[in-house]
Symmetry: C2
């Protein structure tokens, strides 16, 4: 096996009643998952919680302790139900107040006479945090230690993620190979595939059925940070599929 850097792991915390009621369908989890996978950070865990301080604080503290990074989305707007910044400050046990840097960012878009108390809420930043620029609507996200607090609106979240990306410590990228199995049933290859998995302990091998008009369509995915090990496992799987296909 080649030498690989230590694993860099991450969690996502999605904050918002609207996701749990089904009213809004989350798109951010998939976007962040793709982004992290592409830069060699392993997403290990996701949670979705409502706009309630005890549940947000508990999840922030559980997830930041377990992973290299925690990314949150949602709850940083100007309305009364936007409580993420206060909850993150509480989780870290630090104070929170209007940050002059964040206030200056808001003034790039908002006239001084329109910067009312509600809008100033968007400049409330926990003590010690760095700001994450928001090129779209200016109200910033922030980073405190290993926690990145981002907007819930997908276009703004994506822009913040693009700003954060270059600052992250990344691990070895996971190499992934997909073997199209077609309509060969999972049950026909599962035992042989388990034997291949046992013989290739350095790689993760998954079998993924999907349904189409014509019935099941199966794919086997081989993943590892060790590209040569992936290719060896891929070869073994292709051989077993060729043997079993009618």
């Amino acid at each position: 096996m080649t030498n690989t850097p230590p694993a860099v792991t991450a969690a996502i915390l999605v904050i918002g009643d609207e996701i749990l009621s089904g009213r809004t369908k989350d798109k951010n989890i998939g976007t962040i998952a793709d982004y992290l996978t592409a830069i060699g950070i392993e997403l290990r865990e996701v949670r979705i919680v409502p706009d309630e301080a005890p549940m947000i604080v508990e999840a922030v503290n559980a997830l930041r302790a377990r992973h290299t990074y925690l990314f949150t989305t949602g709850g940083i707007g100007p309305t009364h139900d936007d409580i993420t910044a206060d909850c993150v400050a509480e989780a870290f046990g630090v104070s929170i107040d209007v940050d002059p840097r964040a206030r200056a960012m808001l003034l790039e878009r908002i006239k001084p006479e329109d910067l009312n108390a509600a809008r100033l809420r968007m400049a409330r930043i926990p003590a010690g945090a760095d700001l994450i620029a928001n090129p779209i609507s200016k109200a910033p996200g922030f980073r405190i230690e290993n926690v990145f607090v981002m907007a819930g609106v997908p276009a703004i979240m994506q822009a913040m993620l693009d700003n954060i990306g270059p600052t992250l410590t990344t691990g070895a990228k996971v190499v992934s190979e997909t073997i199209e199995v077609g309509n060969l049933p999972e049950g026909a290859y599962a035992s042989d595939l388990a034997a291949v998995a046992a013989a290739h302990p350095g790689v993760s091998i998954g079998s993924y059925p999907s349904m189409t008009q014509g019935g099941f369509l199966n794919r086997i995915v081989v993943r590892s940070k060790d590209a040569e090990a992936v290719m060896r496992a891929r070869g073994a799987i292709e051989a077993l599929v060729a043997r079993l296909r009618p």
Copy 2:
């Protein structure tokens, strides 16, 4: 306030490396959220974990203790990476073996001579569980106490959910009203909206921005099990929007 039955709460546990890698985009969370909301069950929490026994067992035990119901998706197929049934048995401290009822269901679709060891894995059911019929591919899900274990393939999950639905204890349905605010900025109405929220403690009021080509488009959503309280809050919000709109 009218009398309402006690709250019935739920959590979802999504199990699968493929969701965390971004390879598969989850659709089940939104489907289950809509379903539960429609029948008066409050979805309070969602977690996504990888195909790893310790994380699955921990999440099952944390979530089943906190909520009326826990719904899991994924990891009940015939391949080696399908470990959900074993993990649920471990979480409950019960044995797991091939269940004759589940075996009979598999034989509705699979010829006896094709019922190999891998396919029989799909008939392994924790002791004491009831089966959830799968009209599409026959391999059943199961219910043990307050935990419902379902497939990850969306069409099969949906069919299992339809079978489960009539067996659930439901609560009072949440009534939801949406006020379209258009391009009136959140920052222009946030203070007044907070006052409305404070004056209507029995209802949940959220403000949801979305981005369009023409800029932000905002909606305010009022939710409560008390329909009259929702209508009162809606009236107050419509009055404030009418006052602020240019």
